[in-house]
């Protein structure tokens, strides 16, 4: 693991070289989608395909969270009938998907991004506005 970094190592020791922010894509309306355009700052760090794959999966997950369908209507009606007290006991569909997204991001960070000195921040921590990618200094060069 001399050339790669573990997530913990990075967070504690590495200095931040730059941050890239992937903005929202509003062409389909107000649904939460992120732009899949590959930022130039990541060119020598990660494969374009890999990056686009990550963003596309994220987009699909958010679309699933906001999907209008039978199950979401049912949940909405049930909640209304119980005067929304049902959400004290169970969590909403959206929250369940957000947990899935958090796990996905953690996984992506561990497997793909951290070894390359990058760190994805969960968009929910930035108000679903941006996907923040922190680029760490490449210590393998300096050491």
């Amino acid at each position: 693991m001399a050339e790669t970094h573990s997530l913990q190592d990075m967070r504690q020791q590495a200095t931040i070289s730059a941050k890239v922010f992937i903005q929202r894509d509003y062409t389909n309306g107000t649904v939460c989608q992120f732009q899949t355009k590959f930022p130039s700052e990541l060119e020598n760090r990660i494969d374009k395909q890999q990056f686009e794959e990550t963003v596309r999966t994220l987009n699909n997950l958010y679309a699933e969270a906001e999907k209008l369908g039978g199950s979401s209507y049912l949940e909405g009606c049930l909640a209304c009938l119980t005067a929304y007290t049902i959400f004290l006991c169970m969590e909403t569909h959206y929250e369940k998907v957000l947990k899935k997204i958090a796990k996905f991001i953690q996984e992506q960070n561990d497997k793909i991004y951290a070894p390359r000195g990058l760190l994805l921040t969960d968009p929910i921590e930035r108000g679903l506005r941006v996907v923040e990618i922190t680029i760490f200094e490449d210590r393998s060069l300096s050491r």
């Binding site: 062409t27 309306g29 906001e66 929910i124 923040e132």
Partner: protein
């Protein structure tokens, strides 16, 4: 033990926080103050938080209490004075249904009033800097003295061109349908309007509660109105109209005194009289609504004669009047919002005529799902998005916090200050006071804390700054608004202190000092001298002054 004194300062530098308390000396007598802070306590918008961040309202809540009082008092009168009669003479289902309606109304009111309407958190400094750089790249820098035009991004949504405006307070490009509420000082998603009656903005997350509140309130007022009239009619059928009003239990406190007076001045309307003896028939009254009759009575000059009596009629009439006006205004509002839901528009959009065909021939609403049913279902039964502002989250030491610009709840922000590293706090506070005092006088742009230009390694930056301030600045990149506390290095270094910086952030559209120079606190006083060429407009001066005053007030409470 010596280490205990110096350690807190060192801790602040390397660990980027001041709240971490490892020194035993500081532990003594300060344990209570070291409890972890929650994010709502440093929330930059003008909101009030209750129950440790669980409930969130706007700043002015007076009208909300009025709403509550009106609903509870009217319903209370109904249940106390009319329901016993109705339950015994008609059906006991009436108070039961009324009770259920009332509980639903109050539930929806609290839900609408206390829920986060969909507030967008403000941009972190890094984010703001990134956007700045992107905008500079696209717009190019303008000459000195040129005030930047408001930034707009155009997006095509489902075939319609929509303009996204840049919010200078929140430092983000507002998503579509998002608007900045000036009362709450927040950008709210799918902003409908700010409703003083529920004491909150109405936006994406609480629109359905608001709608259900006004809908159920319409039902409740019609219900109460109808049954009060039924009560009066039933009584009048037995005892005569005026006697019915006179004998109505709602008048009980006034009955005795008034009865004697009444029997003196109105020999005709004695108790026991079976017929209505007023000029207007009972049927006409019922049809024309009771309140209209009372207005007519007064207009006809009967007032002086009947005033004592009318005053004595009291509470039944009060219920009726409140209900009458409520019915028309609330039913009207419900109808309006039903229309908005079915066409998937917000009040904001409807008022501005954003999607009206009067603006452009091929104008249409790009957010509409096509048919009324889908629009309604989406608005009322769709998935409920979670709150984006994480009110109850604990403040992490390494999380960059966005600008806590404004007031917040007055009581809460002071606690935050006491939790900070005291020495560091003292230094920062003094500098801010100086900054605040000099800023309005110098008419200058405020501190620029880095521009996210060439990235500097975190800890050595302080030394770099003062020497790098050159008095002869290149042309102002005047497309930069206000402060961007955007330096990467500052974000790394000291998130707590750059939060303080933002108390003095200039508001929107003040051209800021130029240059990719990271400035830090020791150099703030210099900043004033560097900007001779800046335009200064009264509006931003006022708000700058306001910010300074706010900051001073905040500091004085430390």
């Amino acid at each position: 033990m010596h280490l205990g004194l110096t350690e807190p300062v060192r801790e602040c530098q390397y660990n980027q926080i001041c709240t971490r308390n490892s020194s035993p000396m500081e532990n003594v007598g300060h344990t209570k103050k070291r409890s972890p802070q929650r994010k709502w306590q440093i929330f930059p918008g003008r909101n009030r938080f209750y129950c440790n961040g669980r409930l969130m309202m706007a700043r002015q809540t007076g009208v909300f209490y009025l709403t509550l009082v009106l609903i509870i008092v009217t319903s209370g009168l109904f249940f106390t004075f009319d329901c016993p009669f109705l339950a015994s003479n008609l059906t006991p289902a009436i108070p039961v249904v009324g009770g259920m309606l009332l509980i639903f109304v109050l539930g929806m009111l609290f839900r609408a009033g206390f829920t986060d309407p969909g507030v967008l958190p403000r941009a972190t400094p890094d984010e703001a800097a990134f956007l700045e750089r992107q905008m500079d790249a696209t717009n190019g820098s303008s000459g000195p003295g040129y005030r930047p035009p408001p930034r707009i991004k155009e997006v095509v949504i489902n075939g319609q061109t929509v303009k996204l405006k840049y919010c200078f307070t929140c430092k983000i490009f507002r998503p579509p349908r998002t608007s900045h509420c000036s009362l709450c000082d927040n950008c709210v998603e799918r902003f409908d309007h700010h409703c003083p009656w529920v004491g909150n903005c109405v936006g994406k997350r609480n629109y359905r509660f608001f709608y259900l509140f006004i809908l159920s309130l319409s039902f409740l007022t019609v219900f109460i109105f109808a049954f009060v009239i039924t009560h009066v009619i039933l009584r009048s059928n037995r005892t005569g109209f005026l006697s019915a009003l006179k004998d109505s239990p709602a008048r009980y406190p006034f009955t005795k005194g008034n009865c004697q007076m009444l029997s003196h001045i109105t020999p005709r309307s004695q108790a026991g009289s079976k017929h209505s003896e007023v000029p207007i028939s009972v049927d006409a009254c019922v049809c024309a609504l009771v309140s209209v009759w009372f207005v007519a009575m007064r207009a006809c000059g009967f007032y002086r004669r009947w005033s004592a009596f009318l005053d004595g009629v009291g509470l039944t009439v009060l219920e009726v009047v409140v209900c009458f006006f409520s019915v028309w205004s609330i039913v009207g509002l419900s109808g309006f919002h039903t229309y908005l839901i079915s066409s998937n528009q917000t009040t904001n959009e409807d008022i501005k005529g954003s999607w009206s065909t009067k603006r452009a021939k091929d104008n249409y609403n790009p957010y509409s799902h096509g048919n009324v049913l889908t629009n309604c279902c989406a608005a009322l039964c769709g998935p409920l998005p979670p709150s984006l502002i994480d009110r109850r989250g604990l403040i992490q030491p390494d999380t960059p916090q966005p600008a806590p610009l404004s007031n917040g709840s007055s009581g809460y922000t002071t606690q935050l200050h006491t939790h900070m590293c005291d020495q560091e706090q003292c230094i920062q506070s003094t500098k801010f006071v100086l900054q605040a005092a000099t800023t309005p006088l110098l008419h200058s742009g405020p501190v620029v804390i880095g521009r996210g230009g060439p990235p500097l390694s975190g800890k050595s930056s302080l030394g770099v700054t003062c020497s790098s301030l050159a008095p002869n600045q290149p042309s102002l990149p005047s497309s930069m608004p206000g402060l961007s506390c955007a330096g990467d290095m500052l974000a790394l270094r000291d998130p707590e202190t750059h939060c303080h910086h933002h108390h003095f952030v200039s508001p929107e559209e003040t051209p800021s000092p130029p240059g990719p120079m990271p400035l830090t606190l020791p150099c703030t006083a210099h900043a004033g001298h560097l900007n001779p060429a800046q335009l200064y407009d009264p509006a931003s001066q006022d708000s700058l002054h306001e910010d300074s005053v706010r900051g001073l007030v905040k500091l004085s409470s430390v």
